[in-house]
Symmetry: D3
Subunit: 61 residues, 6 copies
Amino acid sequence: MPEVLVHMVEGRTPEQKKMLLQKTTQAVVESLGVRPEQVTVQIVEAKADSKAKGGILFSER
Amino acid sequence: MPEVLVHMVEGRTPEQKKMLLQKTTQAVVESLGVRPEQVTVQIVEAKADSKAKGGILFSER
Amino acid sequence: MPEVLVHMVEGRTPEQKKMLLQKTTQAVVESLGVRPEQVTVQIVEAKADSKAKGGILFSER
Amino acid sequence: MPEVLVHMVEGRTPEQKKMLLQKTTQAVVESLGVRPEQVTVQIVEAKADSKAKGGILFSER
Amino acid sequence: MPEVLVHMVEGRTPEQKKMLLQKTTQAVVESLGVRPEQVTVQIVEAKADSKAKGGILFSER
Amino acid sequence: MPEVLVHMVEGRTPEQKKMLLQKTTQAVVESLGVRPEQVTVQIVEAKADSKAKGGILFSER
Protein backbone atom coordinates (compact mmCIF):
# COMPACT_ATOMS: atom_id res chain seq x y z
CA MET A 1 0.00 0.00 0.00
CA PRO A 2 -0.58 2.41 -1.61
CA GLU A 3 -1.47 1.12 -5.06
CA VAL A 4 -1.09 3.61 -7.88
CA LEU A 5 -2.77 3.44 -11.30
CA VAL A 6 -1.65 5.69 -14.13
CA HIS A 7 -4.17 5.90 -16.99
CA MET A 8 -2.70 7.08 -20.30
CA VAL A 9 -2.55 6.52 -24.05
CA GLU A 10 -0.13 4.03 -25.61
CA GLY A 11 3.00 5.22 -27.33
CA ARG A 12 5.53 6.04 -24.63
CA THR A 13 8.96 4.46 -24.90
CA PRO A 14 10.09 1.75 -22.49
CA GLU A 15 12.52 4.27 -21.02
CA GLN A 16 9.75 6.76 -20.31
CA LYS A 17 7.60 4.11 -18.70
CA LYS A 18 10.47 2.87 -16.55
CA MET A 19 11.22 6.38 -15.38
CA LEU A 20 7.53 6.97 -14.70
CA LEU A 21 7.26 3.83 -12.58
CA GLN A 22 10.42 4.60 -10.63
CA LYS A 23 9.79 8.30 -10.02
CA THR A 24 6.17 7.72 -9.01
CA THR A 25 7.25 5.06 -6.53
CA GLN A 26 9.83 7.47 -5.13
CA ALA A 27 7.20 10.22 -4.83
CA VAL A 28 5.01 7.95 -2.72
CA VAL A 29 7.90 6.80 -0.55
CA GLU A 30 9.07 10.34 0.20
CA SER A 31 5.59 11.70 0.87
CA LEU A 32 4.18 8.96 3.06
CA GLY A 33 7.23 7.46 4.67
CA VAL A 34 6.53 3.95 3.47
CA ARG A 35 9.10 1.45 2.27
CA PRO A 36 9.48 1.07 -1.51
CA GLU A 37 8.43 -2.60 -1.40
CA GLN A 38 5.00 -1.51 -0.16
CA VAL A 39 4.31 0.52 -3.30
CA THR A 40 2.93 -0.86 -6.54
CA VAL A 41 2.44 1.24 -9.65
CA GLN A 42 0.59 0.00 -12.74
CA ILE A 43 0.24 1.82 -16.05
CA VAL A 44 -3.17 1.26 -17.64
CA GLU A 45 -2.71 2.01 -21.32
CA ALA A 46 -5.42 2.74 -23.87
CA LYS A 47 -5.18 2.65 -27.64
CA ALA A 48 -5.37 6.10 -29.18
CA ASP A 49 -8.89 5.43 -30.43
CA SER A 50 -10.04 4.52 -26.93
CA LYS A 51 -9.34 7.76 -25.10
CA ALA A 52 -10.58 11.30 -25.53
CA LYS A 53 -10.06 14.70 -23.98
CA GLY A 54 -12.72 17.31 -24.62
CA GLY A 55 -14.51 14.72 -26.73
CA ILE A 56 -11.63 14.57 -29.22
CA LEU A 57 -9.97 11.18 -29.64
CA PHE A 58 -6.22 10.98 -29.22
CA SER A 59 -6.15 9.17 -32.57
CA GLU A 60 -7.55 12.30 -34.22
CA ARG A 61 -5.32 14.90 -32.62
CA MET B 1 -11.77 16.91 -14.13
CA PRO B 2 -13.74 14.71 -13.97
CA GLU B 3 -11.92 11.66 -15.27
CA VAL B 4 -14.13 8.87 -16.55
CA LEU B 5 -13.14 5.21 -16.96
CA VAL B 6 -15.34 2.80 -18.91
CA HIS B 7 -14.53 -0.86 -18.24
CA MET B 8 -15.76 -3.25 -20.93
CA VAL B 9 -14.90 -6.24 -23.11
CA GLU B 10 -13.06 -5.86 -26.43
CA GLY B 11 -14.92 -6.11 -29.70
CA ARG B 12 -16.71 -2.82 -30.24
CA THR B 13 -16.17 -1.06 -33.55
CA PRO B 14 -14.13 2.14 -33.77
CA GLU B 15 -17.38 3.97 -34.56
CA GLN B 16 -19.03 2.68 -31.39
CA LYS B 17 -16.04 3.65 -29.28
CA LYS B 18 -15.89 7.13 -30.81
CA MET B 19 -19.57 7.67 -30.13
CA LEU B 20 -19.14 6.38 -26.58
CA LEU B 21 -16.27 8.77 -25.89
CA GLN B 22 -18.10 11.76 -27.36
CA LYS B 23 -21.50 11.12 -25.79
CA THR B 24 -20.02 10.40 -22.38
CA THR B 25 -18.04 13.63 -22.52
CA GLN B 26 -21.19 15.48 -23.45
CA ALA B 27 -23.10 13.86 -20.57
CA VAL B 28 -20.51 15.15 -18.10
CA VAL B 29 -20.45 18.63 -19.61
CA GLU B 30 -24.23 19.00 -19.50
CA SER B 31 -24.61 17.61 -16.00
CA LEU B 32 -21.81 19.42 -14.22
CA GLY B 33 -21.40 22.60 -16.24
CA VAL B 34 -17.72 22.04 -16.96
CA ARG B 35 -15.95 22.82 -20.21
CA PRO B 36 -15.33 19.86 -22.57
CA GLU B 37 -11.56 20.31 -22.36
CA GLN B 38 -11.73 19.48 -18.65
CA VAL B 39 -13.17 16.03 -19.29
CA THR B 40 -11.14 12.93 -20.10
CA VAL B 41 -12.71 9.57 -20.86
CA GLN B 42 -10.69 6.35 -21.18
CA ILE B 43 -12.01 2.96 -22.23
CA VAL B 44 -10.33 0.11 -20.33
CA GLU B 45 -10.82 -2.98 -22.47
CA ALA B 46 -10.49 -6.58 -21.37
CA LYS B 47 -10.10 -9.67 -23.52
CA ALA B 48 -13.19 -11.85 -23.49
CA ASP B 49 -11.42 -14.43 -21.33
CA SER B 50 -10.57 -11.78 -18.74
CA LYS B 51 -14.04 -10.64 -17.75
CA ALA B 52 -17.02 -12.40 -16.24
CA LYS B 53 -20.55 -11.62 -15.18
CA GLY B 54 -22.20 -14.02 -12.79
CA GLY B 55 -19.02 -16.08 -12.91
CA ILE B 56 -19.46 -16.81 -16.60
CA LEU B 57 -16.67 -15.59 -18.88
CA PHE B 58 -17.59 -13.40 -21.84
CA SER B 59 -15.56 -15.81 -23.97
CA GLU B 60 -17.97 -18.59 -23.04
CA ARG B 61 -21.26 -16.80 -23.57
CA MET C 1 -21.39 -4.29 -18.54
CA PRO C 2 -19.96 -1.78 -19.09
CA GLU C 3 -19.02 -0.40 -15.70
CA VAL C 4 -18.31 3.30 -15.57
CA LEU C 5 -16.35 5.14 -12.88
CA VAL C 6 -16.39 8.93 -12.67
CA HIS C 7 -13.60 10.37 -10.53
CA MET C 8 -14.22 13.91 -9.28
CA VAL C 9 -14.07 16.27 -6.31
CA GLU C 10 -16.90 16.50 -3.76
CA GLY C 11 -19.29 19.40 -3.81
CA ARG C 12 -21.78 18.73 -6.58
CA THR C 13 -25.46 18.88 -5.69
CA PRO C 14 -27.62 15.76 -5.56
CA GLU C 15 -29.39 17.03 -8.68
CA GLN C 16 -26.12 17.32 -10.59
CA LYS C 17 -25.05 13.86 -9.56
CA LYS C 18 -28.41 12.36 -10.51
CA MET C 19 -28.26 13.98 -13.92
CA LEU C 20 -24.66 12.80 -14.35
CA LEU C 21 -25.58 9.20 -13.54
CA GLN C 22 -28.60 9.21 -15.83
CA LYS C 23 -27.02 10.96 -18.81
CA THR C 24 -23.89 8.83 -18.62
CA THR C 25 -25.98 5.68 -18.58
CA GLN C 26 -27.90 6.95 -21.58
CA ALA C 27 -24.66 7.75 -23.42
CA VAL C 28 -23.50 4.16 -22.99
CA VAL C 29 -26.84 2.70 -24.03
CA GLU C 30 -27.03 4.77 -27.21
CA SER C 31 -23.42 4.16 -28.21
CA LEU C 32 -23.14 0.45 -27.59
CA GLY C 33 -26.68 -0.78 -28.00
CA VAL C 34 -26.86 -2.38 -24.59
CA ARG C 35 -29.89 -2.39 -22.30
CA PRO C 36 -29.88 0.18 -19.47
CA GLU C 37 -29.96 -2.55 -16.81
CA GLN C 38 -26.54 -3.71 -17.99
CA VAL C 39 -24.89 -0.38 -17.20
CA THR C 40 -23.58 0.65 -13.80
CA VAL C 41 -22.11 4.07 -13.10
CA GLN C 42 -20.34 4.96 -9.85
CA ILE C 43 -19.07 8.38 -8.83
CA VAL C 44 -15.79 8.16 -6.89
CA GLU C 45 -15.56 11.40 -4.94
CA ALA C 46 -12.45 12.89 -3.36
CA LYS C 47 -12.21 15.59 -0.73
CA ALA C 48 -10.86 18.85 -2.11
CA ASP C 49 -7.54 18.29 -0.33
CA SER C 50 -7.16 14.88 -1.96
CA LYS C 51 -7.12 15.85 -5.62
CA ALA C 52 -4.87 18.07 -7.70
CA LYS C 53 -4.57 19.28 -11.24
CA GLY C 54 -1.22 20.64 -12.32
CA GLY C 55 0.01 19.97 -8.80
CA ILE C 56 -2.46 22.49 -7.33
CA LEU C 57 -4.96 21.09 -4.84
CA PHE C 58 -8.65 21.76 -5.46
CA SER C 59 -8.80 23.00 -1.86
CA GLU C 60 -6.37 25.77 -2.78
CA ARG C 61 -7.94 26.94 -6.00
CA MET D 1 -23.10 -4.52 -8.26
CA PRO D 2 -20.46 -4.86 -6.97
CA GLU D 3 -17.94 -4.39 -9.76
CA VAL D 4 -14.54 -5.88 -9.14
CA LEU D 5 -11.30 -4.92 -10.89
CA VAL D 6 -8.19 -7.07 -10.55
CA HIS D 7 -4.99 -5.29 -11.59
CA MET D 8 -2.10 -7.61 -12.43
CA VAL D 9 0.72 -8.38 -14.86
CA GLU D 10 0.15 -10.43 -18.02
CA GLY D 11 1.25 -14.01 -18.20
CA ARG D 12 -1.32 -16.07 -16.35
CA THR D 13 -2.85 -19.03 -18.17
CA PRO D 14 -6.47 -19.00 -19.35
CA GLU D 15 -7.20 -21.61 -16.68
CA GLN D 16 -5.80 -19.40 -13.92
CA LYS D 17 -7.79 -16.43 -15.15
CA LYS D 18 -10.99 -18.44 -15.36
CA MET D 19 -10.52 -19.74 -11.85
CA LEU D 20 -9.75 -16.22 -10.63
CA LEU D 21 -12.93 -14.82 -12.18
CA GLN D 22 -15.10 -17.61 -10.82
CA LYS D 23 -13.68 -17.75 -7.30
CA THR D 24 -13.75 -13.98 -6.93
CA THR D 25 -17.39 -13.89 -8.01
CA GLN D 26 -18.15 -16.61 -5.49
CA ALA D 27 -16.34 -14.69 -2.74
CA VAL D 28 -18.54 -11.65 -3.37
CA VAL D 29 -21.73 -13.72 -3.50
CA GLU D 30 -21.01 -15.51 -0.22
CA SER D 31 -19.92 -12.37 1.62
CA LEU D 32 -22.62 -9.95 0.57
CA GLY D 33 -25.56 -12.20 -0.16
CA VAL D 34 -26.02 -10.96 -3.72
CA ARG D 35 -26.94 -13.08 -6.72
CA PRO D 36 -24.08 -14.11 -9.04
CA GLU D 37 -25.61 -12.24 -11.99
CA GLN D 38 -25.13 -8.98 -10.10
CA VAL D 39 -21.37 -9.41 -9.91
CA THR D 40 -18.91 -8.42 -12.64
CA VAL D 41 -15.19 -9.04 -12.41
CA GLN D 42 -12.69 -7.62 -14.89
CA ILE D 43 -8.96 -8.37 -15.00
CA VAL D 44 -6.93 -5.30 -15.98
CA GLU D 45 -3.63 -6.65 -17.29
CA ALA D 46 -0.39 -4.73 -17.71
CA LYS D 47 2.65 -5.67 -19.76
CA ALA D 48 5.60 -6.61 -17.61
CA ASP D 49 7.34 -3.34 -18.46
CA SER D 50 4.32 -1.35 -17.32
CA LYS D 51 4.13 -2.39 -13.69
CA ALA D 52 6.53 -2.11 -10.78
CA LYS D 53 6.71 -3.06 -7.15
CA GLY D 54 9.24 -1.27 -5.01
CA GLY D 55 10.28 0.62 -8.13
CA ILE D 56 11.46 -2.58 -9.82
CA LEU D 57 9.72 -3.47 -13.07
CA PHE D 58 8.20 -6.93 -13.39
CA SER D 59 10.12 -7.23 -16.67
CA GLU D 60 13.37 -6.94 -14.71
CA ARG D 61 12.64 -9.34 -11.90
CA MET E 1 0.28 -8.00 -6.72
CA PRO E 2 -2.48 -8.36 -7.72
CA GLU E 3 -4.37 -5.35 -6.44
CA VAL E 4 -8.14 -5.75 -6.24
CA LEU E 5 -10.71 -2.95 -6.12
CA VAL E 6 -14.33 -3.67 -5.22
CA HIS E 7 -16.71 -0.86 -6.17
CA MET E 8 -20.03 -0.90 -4.30
CA VAL E 9 -22.61 1.15 -2.42
CA GLU E 10 -22.28 1.94 1.28
CA GLY E 11 -24.34 0.10 3.85
CA ARG E 12 -22.71 -3.29 4.35
CA THR E 13 -21.89 -4.32 7.92
CA PRO E 14 -18.30 -4.49 9.15
CA GLU E 15 -18.70 -8.27 9.28
CA GLN E 16 -19.72 -8.43 5.61
CA LYS E 17 -16.82 -6.25 4.57
CA LYS E 18 -14.35 -8.30 6.59
CA MET E 19 -15.61 -11.50 5.00
CA LEU E 20 -15.48 -9.90 1.56
CA LEU E 21 -11.86 -8.82 2.03
CA GLN E 22 -10.78 -12.20 3.37
CA LYS E 23 -12.60 -14.38 0.87
CA THR E 24 -11.50 -12.26 -2.08
CA THR E 25 -7.89 -12.49 -0.94
CA GLN E 26 -8.27 -16.24 -0.64
CA ALA E 27 -9.78 -16.46 -4.13
CA VAL E 28 -6.73 -14.72 -5.59
CA VAL E 29 -4.28 -16.85 -3.62
CA GLU E 30 -5.89 -20.12 -4.70
CA SER E 31 -6.26 -19.11 -8.35
CA LEU E 32 -2.86 -17.61 -9.00
CA GLY E 33 -0.63 -19.37 -6.51
CA VAL E 34 0.62 -16.17 -4.89
CA ARG E 35 1.26 -15.65 -1.20
CA PRO E 36 -1.47 -13.83 0.78
CA GLU E 37 0.89 -10.98 1.67
CA GLN E 38 1.15 -10.10 -2.02
CA VAL E 39 -2.57 -9.41 -2.32
CA THR E 40 -4.27 -6.13 -1.45
CA VAL E 41 -8.02 -5.63 -1.64
CA GLN E 42 -9.68 -2.23 -1.26
CA ILE E 43 -13.40 -1.54 -1.12
CA VAL E 44 -14.33 1.71 -2.90
CA GLU E 45 -17.68 2.73 -1.45
CA ALA E 46 -20.14 5.19 -2.92
CA LYS E 47 -23.04 6.93 -1.22
CA ALA E 48 -26.41 5.65 -2.42
CA ASP E 49 -26.98 8.86 -4.38
CA SER E 50 -23.69 8.43 -6.21
CA LYS E 51 -24.27 5.13 -7.93
CA ALA E 52 -26.83 3.91 -10.44
CA LYS E 53 -27.72 0.76 -12.29
CA GLY E 54 -29.87 1.11 -15.36
CA GLY E 55 -29.95 4.84 -14.70
CA ILE E 56 -31.77 4.35 -11.40
CA LEU E 57 -29.95 5.60 -8.30
CA PHE E 58 -29.47 3.19 -5.42
CA SER E 59 -30.97 5.89 -3.20
CA GLU E 60 -34.21 5.62 -5.15
CA ARG E 61 -34.56 1.87 -5.31
CA MET F 1 -3.58 13.14 -19.40
CA PRO F 2 -2.34 11.09 -17.69
CA GLU F 3 -4.79 10.58 -14.84
CA VAL F 4 -3.34 9.07 -11.69
CA LEU F 5 -5.28 7.31 -8.93
CA VAL F 6 -3.65 6.53 -5.60
CA HIS F 7 -5.54 3.95 -3.54
CA MET F 8 -4.73 4.00 0.19
CA VAL F 9 -6.14 3.88 3.70
CA GLU F 10 -7.35 7.02 5.50
CA GLY F 11 -5.24 8.63 8.16
CA ARG F 12 -2.53 10.62 6.39
CA THR F 13 -2.13 14.27 7.36
CA PRO F 14 -3.11 17.07 4.98
CA GLU F 15 0.60 17.85 4.62
CA GLN F 16 1.41 14.30 3.56
CA LYS F 17 -1.41 14.27 1.05
CA LYS F 18 -0.37 17.62 -0.40
CA MET F 19 3.20 16.42 -0.79
CA LEU F 20 1.96 13.19 -2.37
CA LEU F 21 -0.16 15.05 -4.92
CA GLN F 22 2.63 17.47 -5.80
CA LYS F 23 5.48 14.97 -6.01
CA THR F 24 3.43 12.51 -8.03
CA THR F 25 2.50 15.24 -10.49
CA GLN F 26 6.16 16.19 -10.76
CA ALA F 27 7.13 12.54 -11.36
CA VAL F 28 4.74 12.34 -14.30
CA VAL F 29 5.88 15.66 -15.75
CA GLU F 30 9.57 14.74 -15.61
CA SER F 31 9.07 11.24 -17.00
CA LEU F 32 6.72 11.94 -19.87
CA GLY F 33 7.51 15.51 -20.79
CA VAL F 34 3.96 16.73 -20.36
CA ARG F 35 2.91 20.07 -18.88
CA PRO F 36 1.76 20.04 -15.23
CA GLU F 37 -1.73 21.26 -16.16
CA GLN F 38 -2.27 18.03 -18.12
CA VAL F 39 -1.82 15.89 -15.04
CA THR F 40 -4.55 15.07 -12.51
CA VAL F 41 -3.95 13.01 -9.39
CA GLN F 42 -6.74 11.77 -7.13
CA ILE F 43 -6.34 9.97 -3.82
CA VAL F 44 -8.99 7.27 -3.32
CA GLU F 45 -9.16 6.69 0.42
CA ALA F 46 -10.65 3.70 2.20
CA LYS F 47 -11.63 3.38 5.83
CA ALA F 48 -9.33 1.05 7.76
CA ASP F 49 -12.03 -1.61 7.88
CA SER F 50 -12.39 -1.52 4.10
CA LYS F 51 -8.90 -2.49 3.03
CA ALA F 52 -6.78 -5.56 3.62
CA LYS F 53 -3.33 -6.83 2.79
CA GLY F 54 -2.75 -10.55 3.07
CA GLY F 55 -6.35 -10.87 4.20
CA ILE F 56 -5.67 -8.81 7.34
CA LEU F 57 -7.69 -5.60 7.67
CA PHE F 58 -5.80 -2.37 8.28
CA SER F 59 -8.17 -1.80 11.22
CA GLU F 60 -6.79 -4.93 12.87
CA ARG F 61 -3.09 -4.37 12.36
